[in-house]
């Protein structure tokens, strides 16, 4: 059955290998030029670039494996991931040596460590648990991480007094491990839902709600007459522009707001069609909804390209200050991640839509996935506990109190409570399967909010990260 599917698309196999090979050769050529220019092979930037090249190759091969099911790809994808991980380790070590402290102090350094953890976990999940397609999900995340790193300010910055503590490293290492474990449990729960025969339409609805949420959040920056607000960037100091303490200066990019509004409508269309299909009970709406997803991806890509172009070039007026101010991608890392994340989620949906049978063939069975999800949370929960405890101890040394009800702290406690709820329902009430998987997904959503949302929306004492 799966064979038949592959035969319908005979071109994918070799074409993909040739394309991946060519693009890697191209990237390596550029890397070679970089090395010649800088005269230093083992600089952090070059190591990071090498990691990017290998992760990109691995991502393409994993995706190729997901699409065609050719087992040979997975071997090369693994090799590529290993190579990327080695280059990434080099970059981490270089950074560590240069800065004199483990790389956890800025968003750039956190991403560096996060990508490393993600790649390492991918290899572990693949080798130890046999979850081979996991790279399809994790490698694109790693690629986005490395690309984001190129945009963020990367020079080694000295640590401000509050961060000069061993507990910083303990706390952040634990947080990183715990969050990575939560991310893995989320991916596994999603795979469980695929194996548990959750209808593809439900995934359509979930993807659509997720993307609508992203664009709703992006549209909070919509300004009158179609403008789009982004934070101003001071290229000389490589920092955001502040009007007063804690108040950032926003500049308005004209017309970009209209485009974002258009894309919002485009990503909302599949959801509307899905609801229509539910109400009218006709499948033809679903067909259109799937096409709408495809169109929305193209529009989202367009929004991303325009966002990149407009933000990179030119200065824009501000409502709060006279004159024109430049901006930078580095000033809007969250919007950028959100836009990329939206595209990525929709692409994964398309993969599921077109290749569900192959995925089902390749993934471990539902029972095994359910058990591994639980085991991952069994690892994540103690790590979360220790992370909070280490944070409390550090806060007691730095701020004078072990618990300040700061938003980040409170949300960490909420995350802990959600997973505690999961464990109680699972152990005492015997929740298995779908309900447990939904709970695991909810847990990860809360983790993501604690990690990104709190930083973005609810600033407090945790101003550094």
């Amino acid at each position: 059955m799966a064979r038949a599917k592959v035969e319908q698309h005979p071109a994918t196999g070799t074409t993909l290998v040739v394309m991946v090979g060519l693009s890697i050769a191209f990237l390596l050529f550029i890397a070679f030029l970089n090395v010649v220019k800088s005269g230093n092979i083992l600089s952090e930037a070059n190591l990071l670039y090498a990691a990017l090249v290998f992760y990109a190759g691995a991502g393409a091969l994993y995706l190729g494996f997901g699409v065609t099911g050719t087992d040979a790809y997975i071997k090369f994808a693994s090799l590529s991931t290993w190579a990327g991980l080695i280059a990434n380790t080099g970059a981490v070590a270089h950074r560590w040596y240069e800065a004199g402290h483990p790389p956890f102090a800025s968003l750039y350094e956190m991403l560096l460590s996060f990508v490393w953890t993600l790649a390492a976990l991918t290899l572990i999940a693949e080798k130890k648990y046999g979850v081979k397609v996991i790279g399809t999900v994790t490698m694109p995340v790693a690629i986005v991480g490395v690309v984001l790193m190129q945009l963020l300010r990367s020079e080694v910055r000295p640590l401000v007094p509050a961060l000069q503590s061993t507990w910083l490293h303990v706390h952040v290492t634990l947080a990183m491990l715990a969050y990575a474990a939560c991310a893995l449990s989320f991916a596994l729960a999603m795979m469980f839902l695929i194996q548990d025969k959750l209808q593809t339409e439900t995934f359509l609805a979930a993807t659509s709600i997720f993307t609508v949420g992203i664009y709703a959040a992006v549209l909070t920056r919509f300004e009158r007459w179609g403008g789009f607000n982004v934070i101003a960037w001071d290229p000389e100091n490589k920092a955001e522009v502040f009007i007063s303490k804690g108040v950032r200066l926003f500049v308005t990019i004209p017309d970009l707001g209209w485009l974002m509004l258009l894309v919002f409508c485009a990503v909302a269309a599949p959801l509307v069609l899905y609801i229509a299909a539910l109400v009218k009970k006709t499948d033809s709406f679903l067909e259109i909804a799937n096409r709408a997803v495809f169109i929305s991806i193209l529009l989202q890509a367009l929004a991303l390209v325009f966002f990149l172009l407009r933000v990179r070039a030119g200065s824009y007026p501000s409502l709060d200050a006279e004159g024109l101010y430049p901006t930078s991608l580095a000033a809007s890392p969250f919007i950028l991640s959100a836009l990329v994340g939206g595209i990525f989620a929709n692409l994964l949906y398309l993969l599921l839509l077109w290749r569900r049978q192959d995925l089902e063939r390749l993934l471990p069975d539902a029972d095994a996935l359910d058990r591994i999800t639980y085991k991952t949370i069994c690892i994540a929960f103690p790590l979360l506990t220790l992370m909070i405890a280490a944070g409390a101890y550090w806060a007691n040394r730095a701020w004078g109190s072990y618990w300040n009800w700061d938003p980040k702290e409170t949300w960490a406690a909420i995350t802990w409570l959600v997973y505690a709820g999961y464990l109680h329902m699972r152990i005492t009430r015997g929740w298995r399967g779908r309900r447990a998987a939904y709970f695991a997904i909810l847990g990860f959503a809360v983790v993501m909010f604690t990690f990104f949302g709190v930083t973005y929306l609810l600033p407090g004492l945790h101003a550094y990260a």
Partner: protein, 480 residues
């Protein structure tokens, strides 16, 4: 009446100890804590900002319900107390059973238990001793302890590991209660405040967060304070040299920095802020006479220095951040951003005085008519160090709880209670079967693999003695 009261109590108790109540309480805590992070909170937020953010009616509502200070509101404390009660009730309700299970382990399984156990295997044996001996050797070989259980009518083998794992969840719950206890103690008997000192000064009055003042029974003295910056100007280190003076005697001395407080009698002093007071400490300047001879003088505020036998100079004003408006000099702020000093040069003979401003301020200063020209060399301004002071007697319960929880969670997730029973069973026609069964309280997949290994080991031990003893059914039948 008494009966119905008892049933009501029993019912309340059961409701309180049910997992459903627990989950509902967790959800409530989640909702209200989340609200506390989204709604601006009272002591931290400026009252003006609160008024700007919410309409008056809304603000009145939020204040009345305590939503502007969620984490200290009475109902939130009540909710936390409910959570504690729920944990206590749930633990007490389930504990006796678990304790029975823990203190009186089930060592010789009966026929019903043997039939129902999902993970089991059977071997044919010639007599009891042969079977049990082989099993004992197999256990020893695998590094497991086993004991012979002798009952009036049976003779069997029991091996177990990590029985403590059954108690682990109570350890976790107890640790959580211990942490809550620490929090409650701190809420009732702890305090937190702020004290600001200038080098050389000392104090014992701590300004509390709620506006009150707490007097500590000793004085804290600041001997020096300072900051260090990196080459790019960002802060590297803030430090204060502190000394504790108790009953007039200096008892403790420590240089504190951020992340390293001073502790005395359970009161902790943290480096919280550092800055300039905006007050002048000392100004060093050169005075050059019309004849060209120059001298260096040092002046504090309101201090007078003689320049020669006739002329003296007094420093009368220091303005840290000056601005001129309508012929007057005003201070714009207390930051030493744009300082100006006012000197009065007086001649004893004539009694005439001249107002000199540094820097020269047109229309106000009379620098030109001064017999001396002044050149400022160095301005020393006062610094202050801000110390966060806290007393948290409950924190030891919190740290104890954290350690206990780490231990408890390790047992909950990673220590498995494994039990294996070996029972020789006499069957019809005088045949004997060795029944081997086992269970684990978690991680059953791993246990099944282990059980298989044990069964293989027993099989190997049985074989050399009698080649005829073939395992009749040596596979685990669990989960398949």
């Amino acid at each position: 009446m008494a009966q119905s009261l008892r049933t009501t109590f029993r019912k309340t108790w059961l409701t309180l100890s049910s997992i459903k109540t627990g989950v509902i309480l967790i959800i409530l805590v989640v909702i209200f804590s989340a609200a506390g992070t989204v709604i601006l909170q009272r002591p931290m937020t400026d009252p003006d900002d609160m008024q700007r953010a919410y309409s008056p009616g809304m603000l009145r509502f939020l204040d009345a319900t305590g939503l502007t200070d969620v984490f200290h509101a009475r109902w939130f404390v009540a909710l936390m107390v409910m959570v504690s009660l729920c944990i206590i009730a749930a633990s007490l309700e389930r504990f006796p059973n678990a304790w029975r299970f823990f203190s009186r382990p089930y060592k010789s399984p009966d026929a019903n238990f043997r039939r129902a156990l999902p993970t089991q295997a059977h071997f044919a044996i010639s007599d009891e001793e042969q079977g049990l001996g082989a099993a004992e050797r197999a256990f020893r070989h695998l590094g497991m302890r086993s004991e012979r259980i002798v009952r009036t009518d049976s003779f069997s083998l029991f091996s177990e590991r990590h029985r403590i794992s059954e108690m682990a969840v109570y350890i976790v719950h107890a640790s959580l209660l211990l942490i809550f206890l620490g929090g409650i103690v701190d809420a009732l008997y702890g305090w937190k405040g702020f004290i600001q000192l200038t080098p050389g000064g000392q104090g014992n009055q701590v300004e509390l967060r709620n506006g009150g003042v707490h007097q500590v029974p000793f004085a804290i003295r600041c001997d020096a304070a300072g900051e260090e910056t990196y080459a790019d100007g960002s802060p590297k280190k803030y430090w204060s040299k502190l000394a504790v003076v108790d009953n007039g005697r200096e008892v403790l001395r420590k240089e504190i920095v951020v992340n390293d407080p001073l502790v005395y009698q359970g009161v902790r002093f943290y480096q919280a802020s550092y800055g300039r007071t905006g007050k002048m400490d000392r100004l060093i300047l050169t005075a050059t006479s019309a004849a060209g001879s120059s001298q260096e003088i040092s002046l504090a505020l309101n201090q007078t220095a003689d320049l020669d036998a006739d002329t003296s100079v007094q420093l009368t004003e220091f303005i840290p951040d000056f601005v001129v408006q309508d012929g007057h000099v005003y201070a714009r702020s207390n930051d030493v951003a744009n300082p100006a000093v006012h000197l009065v040069v007086t001649s004893k003979k004539s009694g005439k005085s001249v107002n000199v401003w540094l820097p020269e301020i047109p229309e106000i200063s009379e620098n030109a008519s001064s017999p001396y020209v002044f050149q400022p060399k160095e301005l020393k301004t006062g610094v202050f160090t801000g110390l966060e002071v806290s007393h948290e007697p409950g924190q030891w319960a919190v740290w104890g709880g954290v350690i206990l929880m780490a231990i408890g969670l390790t047992f909950v997730f990673y220590v498995v209670h494994v039990r294996i029973w070996v029972v020789p069973v006499a069957e019809a026609e005088g045949k004997m079967t060795l029944w081997v069964g086992g269970t684990a309280n978690r991680n059953r997949d791993a246990f099944e693999l282990k059980f298989k290994k044990i069964v293989e080991a027993i099989e190997k031990e049985l074989k050399p003695e009698s080649a005829s003893a073939q395992p009749r059914q040596a596979t685990s039948i669990a989960g398949h």
